[in-house]
Chain length 241, copies 2
């Protein structure tokens, strides 16, 4: 079985680093990539600072098959992602006519004009392909293996939905979860032995302590459904001992 | 005014990258650091893989004043953070008596024994200082500028509470938020001019679209309360135009 494509997510925004905003875009995209059989290997959050964005994009795009960014493509002075991406690739950037046309159709109201700042959202690095934004029109873009998308969650989700069908996936990793009603330390030795017997399956142990009591979720992940059926049975047997 | 100390957070765990778990530790610690006047510059999420953890720790500890890690210090086979940290620093690691004693006091119940796997949680890299865990006793540790803490949120929070008083902070950044009841593109040009007049204040624009309508939060951040009062007045004036 060929290895799955790899990916990283780069979240751009001071508001995440200050703690003002709890990011949800990363978790949403992580789930989508898992379903599609693309292995998400890393998430990074950096500030609205051009050298930081450029360094992170260049580190990640050289290492993974796909890089997905979120944030910093709006009309205000702190939206610097498109320029930073162009700089990372060493290409030019300017207002592009097809992007301007998308904005013009949205901002044709006398009360909501396509002013100079909004036109910043039509600045697209040379050689990029637009990503449709069905919510508020201002497009994202793809440059080589880097997908540049909005930070506003409803727009981010719409852009991800637009690009996912075009991404070659691998064998989706599925998971089975077996609940163990005791602390993980009680089962750790037996679990390690079991994990060693299934070297092709990723086995994780996640203790929880919530309103429905405490215990441990034993989670096995694999892209081979037959192996998951086998390990689920083995995990259940372990928990009954 | 001297620059604030800098920091990075490193979250370790396949369960975050698979999308199974929505991380909350990063956001919690981000808020605490902001209040303490420590500038959080980067968050990374990597998988439960020793070379990945080692590379990330070494990249971050060389660059920032403090690095805070979360995850991978439990008793099961997939808990490899302590060994990875020792490898990153090139120091030895073994069961330490003071850590073992903490565990022994917790696991003195015949039904909840300090077995061989649980004893893994007393493995501490040479030269580290323990971080108390008032919840479930298994300690975290600090090695130079790297603070290694649990992934389970209730334990992570307790460990952060234990270390925060000992961290030298800078001037805490405070923020003011002014709500603008229109799309951010309407105010973007005026906002850019205002931001240029306050180069010492960080000014962000965050559009929202929720149950209480849509609009834009204009957020100014500074460690100088007098400047925040000035810019808040200027932002309100801008919004009334």
């Amino acid at each position: 079985m060929p290895a799955n494509p790899t990916a990283a997510i780069l979240l751009i925004g001071d508001e995440i680093l200050s703690g003002r905003t709890q990011d949800t875009n990363g978790n949403y995209l992580a789930k989508q990539l898992t379903e599609q059989g693309i292995d998400l290997c890393e998430i990074r959050v950096v500030s609205d600072d051009a050298p930081e964005i450029i360094a992170a994009v260049n580190a990640l795009r050289g290492r993974y098959d796909h890089v997905f960014t979120s944030g910093g493509i709006g009309p205000t002075h702190d939206d610097i992602t498109a320029d930073a991406i162009a700089a990372a690739f060493g290409v030019g950037i300017d207002v592009r006519e097809d992007a301007r046309a998308m904005l013009a159709s949205h901002y044709d109201d006398p009360d909501k004009k396509l002013n100079k700042m909004r036109l910043r959202m039509a600045r697209i690095p040379d050689g990029a392909e637009l990503i449709a934004n069905p919510v508020s029109k201002a497009p994202g873009f793809r440059l080589e293996n880097v997908y540049v998308m909005a930070g506003v969650p409803v727009v981010f989700v719409a852009m991800v939905e637009a690009i996912l069908p075009g991404l070659a996936g691998g064998a989706p990793k599925q998971s089975v979860t077996v609940r163990y009603d005791h602390p993980e330390g009680d089962i750790a030795a037996a679990l390690a032995e079991l994990a060693a017997r299934f070297p092709d399956v990723s086995v994780g142990s996640y203790p929880f302590d919530g309103p429905r009591g405490y215990g441990t979720n034993l989670v096995a992940r694999s892209s081979d459904p037959a192996r998951l059926i086998q390990i689920e049975a083995a995990l259940k047997q372990l928990c009954e001992k």
